[in-house]
């Protein structure tokens, strides 16, 4: 409670108060249930780390000089960042739609762009918070260094923004929770598990290497991992270009949907 009041302490120009309030509300929303929205995904990622490193360490060597457990960490962090960025915007929107309280935002003078920015930033912040927590815990267990921090940050930001925008699209499109589950189980989960979180795609047969290159998650994971180790399956600049372009395309689609009032205004 006290947090709200303190947050008001930050002086914001009245012009930006609308979107700032929406962002603040969206952040408080996931923070209020932080056990479920931050702690739970951190535990999940650490369980993956524990099990996969225990089973595969010594059997798999992906990069020279990088132990498998260390190799696993950036992929797990990025996978959690992406999944949680998507979960934040999509679940907030579908809940507000089902509960009917999205009307409180729709009745305001907020523009479609302000709406987009607020939901996007909240998704990015949730994704990065989860990622940061996993990183901090993993640091205790494994000796891991970041060679190119700016590259790592760029991929984390762009990746969470991409999934945050995709979450807005899913949240607007879905009318029911089971439709949202389709997105989660048939798009987000397969794409993140088949993106090279647990392996290098060079260990796959040529055909599956090609298939992997159609998966946008692959570029986000690989680029993010490059930030740590300075090596990856493909050039980080190519990945950056692909991820950046994908984000722009999704952002434009989202903005177009919001502007037209698709499924929000009849």
């Amino acid at each position: 409670m006290a947090k709200v009041y303190k947050m008001y302490g930050i002086s914001i120009s009245p012009r930006f108060r609308g979107p700032w309030t929406l962002l603040k509300k969206e952040m408080l929303r996931f923070w209020r249930v932080g056990f479920q929205t931050v702690a739970a995904p951190v535990i999940t990622a650490l369980l993956y780390l524990l099990i996969f490193s225990h089973v595969l360490a010594g059997h798999v060597q992906v990069y020279q000089d990088v132990p498998y457990t260390t190799f696993l960490i950036p992929g797990l962090i990025m996978m959690s960042v992406l999944q949680n960025a998507f979960a934040n915007s999509s679940s907030s929107l579908i809940q507000s739609k089902v509960m009917g309280n999205l009307i409180f935002v729709l009745l305001t003078p907020l523009t479609h762009f302000e709406f987009f920015i607020a939901f996007l930033c909240a998704a990015i912040i949730r994704g990065l918070s989860v990622g940061l927590c996993i990183y901090l815990v993993a640091m205790w267990v494994v000796d891991i260094h970041v060679l190119h921090p700016w590259m790592m940050i760029a991929f984390a930001l762009l990746g969470s923004a991409l999934l945050g925008a995709f979450g807005i699209i899913a949240g607007i499109w879905a009318d029911r929770f089971d439709q949202m589950a389709v997105f989660q189980n048939f798009i987000i989960m397969p794409l993140s598990f088949l993106s090279g979180v647990f392996y290098s795609i060079h260990s796959l047969p040529p055909f599956w290497q090609k298939v992997s290159q159609l998966n946008p998650f692959f570029y986000m994971i690989d680029g993010f991992r490059y930030g740590f180790f300075g090596q990856g399956d493909i050039s980080p600049w190519v990945s950056l270009l692909i991820v950046g372009t994908s984000f722009l395309v999704l952002a434009l689609i989202t903005l177009k949907m919001l502007k037209s009032g698709y499924k929000l205004r009849t």
């Binding site: 609308g18 309030t21 929406l22 507000s96 509960m99 009917g100 009307i103 409180f104 003078p109 009849t266």
Partner: protein
């Protein structure tokens, strides 16, 4: 003076359904206006267009001179809408919701005194720190009204605000809304409780099947359509044909007639005498908006 609301030839089609058929309506600043009509008349669609939740198929709507489509930011800034559904955000308490709602409209800490005033006026001060989820239905309704007022809009629209609300709360709500009206806010309400519209509103619009069928001051409407109501206890009888047009309702041998003037009493009694029907009891009452409503909504039935 710029009207609070100006609705100019609004049409709305939902597929094949012509939900609004060219509505024209101007509401002056400071008015207390009631929009009445049966379910499906188009009241909520009209309010949805005003709120920017529904896009009109044709026509223009403006709030204090600002077009709700092209100048939606200014228009919504001046408009407070109380939705019909009892919706709430389960993550926050009452005061947080009010602060958020004011914040969306660009208002910051300077608005807190107003938020306190609304909480006080609606009897929500004790509940300010209670989570929305834990409020009773009546309290949720008050919070919903408070949210619409958080940015201190000059024009306030209440869509069925007293549906399912107990008598005590209804009285309190109306006292509060009347005070807002005295302070200069324009109030527009839709309601099913005709007596509310009658006691509160200076002007009434009645809608039916997407059209406005009557628009006048409450007093004029009452005078124009039915001056008196005659309630006769006759028992199980068949009425003479010539007075059937005046019959408004019939229940357990009690017949209610709407009379446009006193001379018609004689007409009714003469017809009954002619048919050899005995009057067991008789009551003469002032007509209310319900009679106007029934005579208007009834008259189009084919």
């Amino acid at each position: 003076m710029t009207p609070a609301i100006r609705i100019d030839n609004i049409h709305k089609h939902f597929g094949n359904l012509h939900a609004l058929k060219g509505i024209d309506l101007t509401i002056a600043q400071g008015e207390f206006f009631a929009l009445l009509g049966p379910n499906g008349a188009g009241k909520s669609t009209l309010i949805g267009i005003l709120a920017g939740l529904i896009k009109p198929s044709a026509g223009d709507v403006s709030v204090m001179g600002f077009d709700v489509v092209n100048q939606y930011q200014q228009a919504r800034q001046l408009l407070g809408i109380v939705p019909q559904e009892l919706v709430f955000d389960p993550f926050f308490n009452v005061r947080e919701m009010l602060r958020f709602q004011a914040g969306y409209f660009g208002r910051g800490p300077e608005n807190d005194a107003w938020v306190d005033e609304i909480l006080e006026g609606l009897g929500l001060t004790d509940k300010a720190h209670t989570n929305m989820r834990k409020l009773s239905g009546g309290m949720k309704r008050r919070a919903l009204i408070a949210q619409a007022l958080a940015h201190k809009p000059p024009v306030i629209v209440l869509d069925e605000p007293t549906a399912g609300v107990d008598v005590e709360l209804r009285q309190m709500l109306w006292e509060f809304i009347k005070k807002l009206n005295r302070d200069g806010h324009t109030i527009i309400l839709t309601t099913h409780y005709l007596e509310e519209a009658e006691t509160l509103c200076s002007r009434v619009g009645m809608m039916k099947q997407g059209e406005i069928v009557a628009l006048d001051s409450t007093a004029n409407l009452l005078n124009k359509f039915a001056a008196k109501k005659l309630r006769l206890t006759l028992g199980e009888v068949v009425l003479p044909v010539e007075i059937l047009t005046m019959l408004r309702s019939q229940e357990k041998g009690i017949f209610t007639f709407a009379l446009s003037d006193m001379a018609q009493i004689e007409l009714v009694l003469a017809a009954l005498r002619g048919a050899n029907i005995k009057v067991l009891d008789m009551q003469l009452n002032e007509a209310d908006l319900e009679d106007v409503f029934l005579s208007l909504v009834g008259q189009h039935h084919g």
